[in-house]
């Protein structure tokens, strides 16, 4: 069994697996764009933007794209805002790992090479693995293929200092027990809502929303190029249209893939969807099938059902503990039992608006804040349910903060989200952090007539705990709930970031 290992625990900054990865990446980067086994062809399968690729030098203006048949079959496939997010990326990683391994072998390297993963949650491992941050090979010579200039990190004042600020990411998604959820403002489920083929869906599932999106933006960052654009330009990792060009992308997604299996192993209720529309993939409802080229260039078509069979994918991970807190051990490759869930599903749950902001909120500089008027009747309903013990078989009362129609041109932006309860009659106010949002994919979601809807992205954050904390309190004003967005890095005015509406939504019986 091939084992994917922690990149920080391979035995050195330039341990053999990293060195061979760099050599293989270098070999693939030298291939023509239209070659199905080239580095850039594989990046284009995730996403493509002519302007950014040419500006950053990944495509010459005169260079030909893959032939139309290849472009249509393979390129721009990445699944976001969809319950296919996890299985599509798993297949993409499998195909990529096969290609790198075949290249490593052709370079006289080991036949059991595997893709390492970057577990930024593990203590002391949130920094970019050093081999990726050095422009030089270990012998001091330049042209390290793992180094990317357009990887600026979370702090614009220190471009190139790349790390994942732990205050901006969490593993809350691991506590969600349903793979798929509702689309109307409640929980979207660990893996995302059911959709067709969604190259740029607007409603990301829980593990995609956190930590996947944030890590992309925090690692890639953004930079101003005044001569090229009045808006900040994203680092490669910050946007789906260039992310696959950065070698660290694959280690980040290996970690997300690891978290999927970790989720399945952690609780018997955590099972993949049983619906045939998920198992058979978007092709089953008339959409694009999932396909990547094998090392010999032939197409490999795969389905979510194949990706769900973890015992059959041909690899495992060295550690399945989400944050790497427990002692490392190779867990069983067997999948968690499926179809045995005994919990109240969200299907048929009531999902209702409790309150919503009156107008759009512009976000610039260090952030923004607003208040959300709450409907008195709806608040009374929620408070009443929260004050009552949940009957056996009944659904738990949950409350969510929705940030709807988030638009703009700054894919790297990450906003910490706080809810604020104003004190009454001299009582102190209270504020609680309820998570963060990463605007990964926002530019494409904002553009109208570019093959997208133009309505922006929408986010859902669980605020049940703080809402319950204050729901029955006479010391705070519950007619309005304050919402404060704090940017991890300053948001440029020219990026025109805005939130169309902020609402509070209940989900329960």
């Amino acid at each position: 069994m091939l084992v994917r290992k922690n990149v920080w625990e391979l035995g050195g900054d330039w341990a053999d697996p990293i060195l061979w990865y760099a050599r293989a990446v270098g070999a693939l980067k030298s291939k023509p764009l239209a070659d199905r086994t080239s580095w850039r062809f594989w990046a284009g399968m995730h996403g493509y933007d002519q302007g950014l690729w040419e500006f950053y030098g990944y495509k010459a203006a005169h260079e030909k794209l893959p032939a139309k048949a290849d472009f249509d079959e393979f390129w721009q496939q990445c699944q976001h805002g969809s319950w296919y997010f996890l299985p599509w990326h798993r297949g993409y990683l499998i195909g990529f790992e096969k290609l790198i391994r075949a290249t490593v072998v052709s370079l006289k390297g080991p036949a059991d090479w595997t893709l390492p993963y970057w577990n930024y949650f593990k203590t002391g491992q949130n920094g970019l693995p050093p081999a990726f941050g050095s422009p030089d090979w270990p012998d001091g010579k330049g042209n390290n293929p793992l180094f990317v200039e357009q990887r600026w990190g979370p702090d614009p004042s220190k471009p190139g200092k790349v790390f994942v600020p732990l205050k901006a990411v969490n593993l809350d998604a691991m506590g969600v027990h349903e793979f798929t959820g509702v689309a109307s403002g409640g929980d979207r489920g660990f893996g995302g809502i059911d959709t067709g083929f969604e190259h740029s869906g607007t409603k990301h599932g829980d593990i995609e929303s956190q930590p996947h999106d944030q890590v992309h933006g925090l690692v890639g960052g953004e930079k101003m190029f005044p001569k090229a654009s009045p808006r900040p330009l994203p680092g490669l990792m910050s946007t789906p249209v260039t992310a696959g060009l950065d070698p660290i992308f694959w280690l980040h997604h290996a970690n997300i893939d690891r978290l999927w299996q970790s989720w399945r192993l952690s609780d018997h209720r955590n099972t993949d969807p049983e619906e045939s529309s998920w198992k058979k993939g978007p092709a089953s409802h008339g959409k694009h099938q999932f396909v990547v080229p094998l090392p010999d260039g032939s197409p490999w078509v795969y389905t979510p059902q194949q990706m769900s069979d973890f015992a059959g994918v041909g690899y495992t991970y060295s550690d399945f503990s989400p944050a790497g807190a427990r002692p490392a051990a190779v867990a069983s490759a067997a999948a968690a039992p499926s179809g045995a869930a005994t919990m109240t599903k969200s299907t048929g749950a009531a999902v209702e608006v409790v309150g919503a902001s009156a107008k759009a909120l512009a976000v610039a500089g260090s952030g923004a804040q607003t208040s959300v008027p709450v409907d008195a009747r709806m608040h009374a309903k929620v408070a009443g349910k929260m004050a009552t013990a949940v009957a056996p078989g009944a659904r738990e009362e949950r409350v969510f903060l929705n940030l709807e129609n988030v638009r703009g041109y700054s894919d790297a932006t990450v906003l910490q989200v706080y809810v604020h309860f104003a004190g009454k009659d001299g009582a102190p106010s209270a504020e609680r952090q309820v998570g963060s949002i990463g605007l990964f994919g926002i530019t494409k979601a904002t553009e109208t007539d570019a093959g997208h809807k133009g309505d922006g992205l929408s986010y859902v954050l669980n605020i049940t705990k703080p809402y319950q904390e204050f729901a029955g309190s006479a010391n705070v004003d519950l007619a309005n709930i304050g919402v404060r967005l704090e940017a991890v890095a300053p948001v440029q005015q020219s990026a025109e970031v805005s939130v169309g509406r902020i609402s509070v939504v209940r989900q329960g019986d």
């Binding site: 959820g181 694009h288 059902q305 129609n405 509406r501």
Partner: protein, 259 residues
């Protein structure tokens, strides 16, 4: 059933029932329907106010408008699931019915206004007194040019719009009404050319309407795309049919991943 699929059914079932009711009414009234007859009446041999007055005497504007709205309901209801689901999801529970009603009013009123240029276009066609072949060629060319135009794709893209909607007070009412109006504008832009098909089919009008309706629904299933001059057809439905045939012809792809 997934939670999101259940939510979609909450909208799709009432819409399907309403559309089915409209189709049944259209079929039941087929011998009394005047709109197609009005557009293809012999009185339109020359442009004159006298002849227009004569036509209006035979065809009451109210019944023509009613028939038009029935046709819009039958053909367009199935395409409104996304927009009406959006209104429902974004409204406070006790305002849902009101917001949905306002959306329908805005949508219907705009489609009503859209009927005037479409009906006059048909009358203009009658005034030209063309042979059946020439009529088909002219209408067919018009439809094809519009169908493959960037303007048509831009309208179709905007049919998927789901903007922010106010939730409280008069702002919520205006938002629902306004969303209905804008959705209908983009919908008229998307559909007007194909709506000419049923009008030109004097025999088998209902069948032509059903075929047009099916095509309009199939168009909506495709993802938005960049507007351009290009030959387009509903590819999602084509792929779906191909997938069904493929499953029938060969075993499903469920095998394990080769190392």
């Amino acid at each position: 059933m997934t939670p999101a699929a259940y939510e979609r059914l909450q909208i799709r079932i009432p819409l399907a029932i309403a559309a089915a009711g409209a189709w049944v009414a259209m079929a039941a009234m087929s011998h009394e329907r005047k709109l197609v007859a009005f557009c293809s009446s012999d009185v339109w041999t020359a442009l004159s106010l006298d002849r227009f007055a004569l036509a209006i005497t035979f065809y009451s504007p109210a019944s023509l408008a009613g028939e038009w709205m029935l046709m819009v309901a039958a053909m367009m209801m199935p395409t409104l699931a996304g927009a009406m689901g959006h209104v429902r999801a974004r409204s406070l529970p006790h305002r849902r019915k009101r917001s949905l009603a306002l959306f329908i009013i805005g949508y219907g009123a705009t489609w009503g206004a859209c009927s005037i240029p479409i009906v006059f276009a048909m009358l203009a066609l009658q005034l030209l007194q063309l042979s059946p072949v020439a009529t088909i060629a002219l209408v067919g060319s018009l439809i094809l040019i519009w169908q493959f135009s960037p303007a048509k794709q831009a309208c179709l893209n905007r049919c998927h719009d789901q903007p922010p909607l106010a939730a409280h007070g008069i702002a919520a009412d205006l938002a629902a009404l306004g969303y209905g109006v804008t959705q209908a504008i983009w919908c008229c832009g998307t559909c007007w050319a194909l709506m000419l098909v049923p009008f030109t089919a004097q025999d088998g009008h209902l069948l032509a309407m059903a075929a047009t309706s099916a095509y309009l629904i199939a168009e909506r299933l495709d993802q938005p795309r960049r507007p351009a001059w290009e030959i387009r057809w509903p590819s999602t439905v084509a792929r779906l049919l191909w997938f069904r045939l493929s499953v029938w012809r060969r075993p499903e792809n469920t095998g394990r991943v080769a190392a």
